[in-house]
Symmetry: C2
Subunit: 527 residues, 2 copies
């Protein structure tokens, strides 16, 4: 078993700290050497993607030290322990098995008396069968008509990931003729959220998916009640319009309130559940089980690469290592995710959860405070939109914000227009290429208001086209990056105790069991 140690106890980290070596991007990117660097600082990823880190602030010497860090921290061994079924979520004493939803990297993993790969695959097959029946009309509404729309009711990991993936494949599926059902999402306990979705959909032809692992998430149960009331008011039978995705031990599992129930378990954290039944049900219904299968195979291919030992052949590990260097040695506090693809509009919001909820912690996996910085703040919006918004600060603000660009050579639909000698897709690509270099190299100007210091780091993941496969690979890249960073920081990246206190106090407010400041705020909000 791998040994868990704090980052600042590792010799390789001490060496990194002591070296004081710094790379100035303006120097290393100049001239022919710069062009060579761009060609060489490039790691192939799954599904034809590649990870280019020419504009991260590293060089051969620093990369060597980071490789030493990976070795000493035994990142490969820790990942192996994880996928072989080790109790990596130590706080909650749980296995961490989201990789098994899309493939098997190591030993058979048995838990709760079951082979877990078979369990996840079995649920996926059940969903596929169900989705096919919905698409064929064998499963239909009470009037015997086909369901046209699917509405996911869930929050956090049961919302952000599946929603981001649905949006990511929406246009692609239309272009490919496999857009089978529209999907909508209800998440917020704000009643106006449910109202606006219910007003927008044709409820009579809608299938609702209630997603809650525990079956006790207050927001989700409240929204379920909201939807059931609305259906009943329309003279519909809610139990003919609802399915559940939950754990086998939850109160929802055997309820007659649902047409069907599909299962996940405690070994899959919400934020890593897009490839489980949580994403599987909605995506299989919207685009068909084959599309969901392609998405899984892209993720599986990325997972296999993440199991490589050498950081220079393992983009997720390399991205993680450089990120830790930026956070702990260079001191950068935030990271921006900037996809040059409108389809990835909500991908940054998903990564915001995946990353900040996993690694936004101050104690190590043994419950001891750590002295070093951990996960950064993550934010982002699609380019080119962001260029006309917050890029001003990224270019000329007082802080350095490392950037994670994503770009594709082709659009999803192929429909385009040629203006001023180039297509929109070429303009999009030209913009991301331009931005990377603008950030890294800057431009001197005697008018300092027009001066760009440069030396602002970024990397880019480039692919041919955003498809189910490449989306799966992209998702797994970030999931694995987050996992490796958690290993380096010696965190338990798989619990989220930081969300508990708010829940507890909210209950007290609703029970009117408050005093002092809390009572005042409750009154202010009209409770």
């Amino acid at each position: 078993m791998a040994e868990w140690k704090n980052l600042d106890t590792l010799k390789a980290y001490e060496a990194l700290e002591a070296s004081g070596r710094r790379v100035d991007l303006r120097e290393v990117l100049a001239g022919d050497a710069g062009a060579k660097r761009v060609r060489e600082y490039n790691v192939p990823m799954a599904c034809g993607l590649s990870f280019n880190y020419a504009c991260r602030q590293v060089d051969e010497e620093l990369l060597g030290m980071l490789a030493d860090l990976a070795e000493e921290s035994d990142l490969k061994g820790k990942f192996r322990d994880l996928y072989n079924g080790g109790v990596i979520n130590t706080g909650e004493k749980r296995l961490v098995l989201h990789h098994l939803t899309r493939g098997q990297l190591g030993d058979d993993v048995t838990a709760d008396g079951k082979d877990k790969r078979e369990f996840y695959k079995g649920e996926q097959d059940k969903i596929a069968e169900f989705a096919n029946k919905v698409h064929s009309g064998e499963i239909s509404n009470e009037a015997g008509e086909k369901f046209t729309t699917v509405v996911q009711i869930g929050i956090g990991g049961s919302d952000l990931g599946p929603r981001a993936m649905y949006i990511a494949l929406d246009n692609w599926a239309r272009a490919e003729g496999c857009h089978l059902m529209d999907a909508h999402f209800i998440s917020n306990v704000d009643p106006d959220d449910a109202v606006s979705v219910l007003d927008a959909v044709d409820a009579e032809h809608s299938l609702f998916i209630l997603v809650s692992k525990s079956g006790t998430t207050l927001e989700t149960l409240t929204n379920e009640a909201f939807v059931k009331d609305a259906l009943t008011d329309m003279g519909l039978d809610p139990s003919k319009h609802m399915i559940a995705v939950t754990s086998e031990t939850s109160p929802l599992a055997k309820s007659s309130d649902y047409l069907a129930a599909f299962f996940m378990d405690d070994y899959i954290g919400g934020r890593f559940s897009s490839t489980s039944a949580v994403g599987g049900a909605v995506l299989s219904l919207a685009f068909g089980p084959e599309v969901f299968g392609s998405f899984l195979s892209g993720a599986a291919e990325a997972d296999r690469l993440a199991a490589c030992k050498a950081p220079l052949e393992n983009a997720a590990m390399l991205d993680a290592l450089i990120g830790v260097y930026e956070r702990n040695i260079l001191g950068y506090e935030t990271t921006a995710v900037l996809p040059y693809a409108q389809a990835l509009a909500r991908f940054p919001a998903h990564l915001q959860q995946a990353d900040m909820e996993s690694n936004g912690k101050s104690v190590n996996r043994f419950g001891e405070p750590v002295a070093y910085k951990t996960g950064p703040v993550i934010f982002g919006e699609p380019g080119t939109n962001g260029q006309h918004s917050f890029y001003q600060l990224l270019h000329q603000g007082k802080e350095t914000v490392p950037l994670q660009f994503i770009g594709f050579r082709e659009s999803q639909t192929g429909r385009d227009v040629d203006i001023q000698g180039s297509t929109s897709q070429k303009k999009l690509g030209a913009n991301v290429a331009a931005q990377i270099v603008a950030f890294a190299c800057g431009k001197e100007d005697s008018d300092l208001n027009r001066n760009f210091d440069g030396d602002r780091p970024s990397s880019i993941i480039v692919g041919d086209r955003l498809t189910p496969e490449s989306l799966g690979a992209l998702l797994a890249h970030y999931e694995n990056k987050i996992m490796f960073q958690g290993f380096l920081w010696n965190l338990n990246s798989f619990d989220q105790e930081g969300v508990q206190l708010g829940k507890l106090l909210a209950k007290r407010v609703l029970a009117h069991e408050t005093n002092g400041a809390l009572a005042e705020f409750a009154e202010m909000l009209g409770i």
Copy 2:
């Protein structure tokens, strides 16, 4: 005229730095004194909103020093210079007149030979007349049928603000029976963005608004061409489906390609243009001119309060002052905007532009580098969604992130469900009250993984209900806060030179005039 000085040359700032005084929220919020503090640290805002800063890390002594800072920096005088038509955008030698789009706070302002208040009001009236004709069917499509849908084509300030405001009022307008047209937005140069909007709307009954101040924004002109091609392919005449919002000097102003043109000018920055014709056209078409008028009157009321001298009666000024204290004395790098209202889903994205593009700068208004920190990174998502996502880091991460909560006592639609003894709206309110106190007061636990340090600062703006008036007041609050912070930091908050280099390099890429690293990246992206 007010005198422009760097923050670190002000005696009041030196005093603030020297004092070393710190407030521990856990102490000041304890017991009855804490309850009293919540009641007292509260400033009335426009339209029944209030700004509560009990959980910001200030006390009477620090507030006194901040009031001295406001006085010495002459924030009131600077704002007066601005609304009286001073050349506050010094870099571009322009007046800054967005306040005039919603009221007149001071002297008549004349520019380009016109009374500017009359000009803005005149455009607003022209838009109202046009919108009324569209709603009555007097202006119709080629088949003589009513337009049902409006599609805004714009990017940056021509997109984020109007889009956020439309989303904010969508449910409200449905509930109030004044939802007259659906609105959609095309912004990204990614062709898939235009494709997905065009696939979603009924183009035959759609009116497109082309928004570009200069008439030269490449993304917007490209998307216009995309839309025109699509309309032509459908046998429609684009000039019967399009209006323009631009400046009078732009190539679009007198073009016969548009049914009508409405004007803004160079004195209104894109990010401050929601109350100009840029927001006016789409919002008046979607909800009617009266609703847009109510939105403006809410903003005007907030502006009047922002002209008060005393920070404790001027929420925007107070918010700005405390923000500078947090940024420059306490060293916090990011700020989260957390509206507990699904309708404000895109409000944080709008503020991200408004704030980061205004104050994400490193040189003062005279073009000299400043030694102190300026604008923070802004991000946010609606609560309760965020609670199930990135709040983990906010509660237990290594950095302190000041939080800006927003909450309402009533939902927009009034449609609700009672579960476990409370409505969804009460649950929403209970959650935001609970979060404020959880962040500020924390909770000790011997299991450090379940320990909450507390002392994490926030403020909250509370209102009865999100309406056009209160939305206008909310928007103006933040615009004015950003303005005051720019004054304190001695920045020109009204230009954005940081976006230019990327544009320049993108043109070179498209013209294949590249070499070195840029040529390599261009090739990688298939250009």
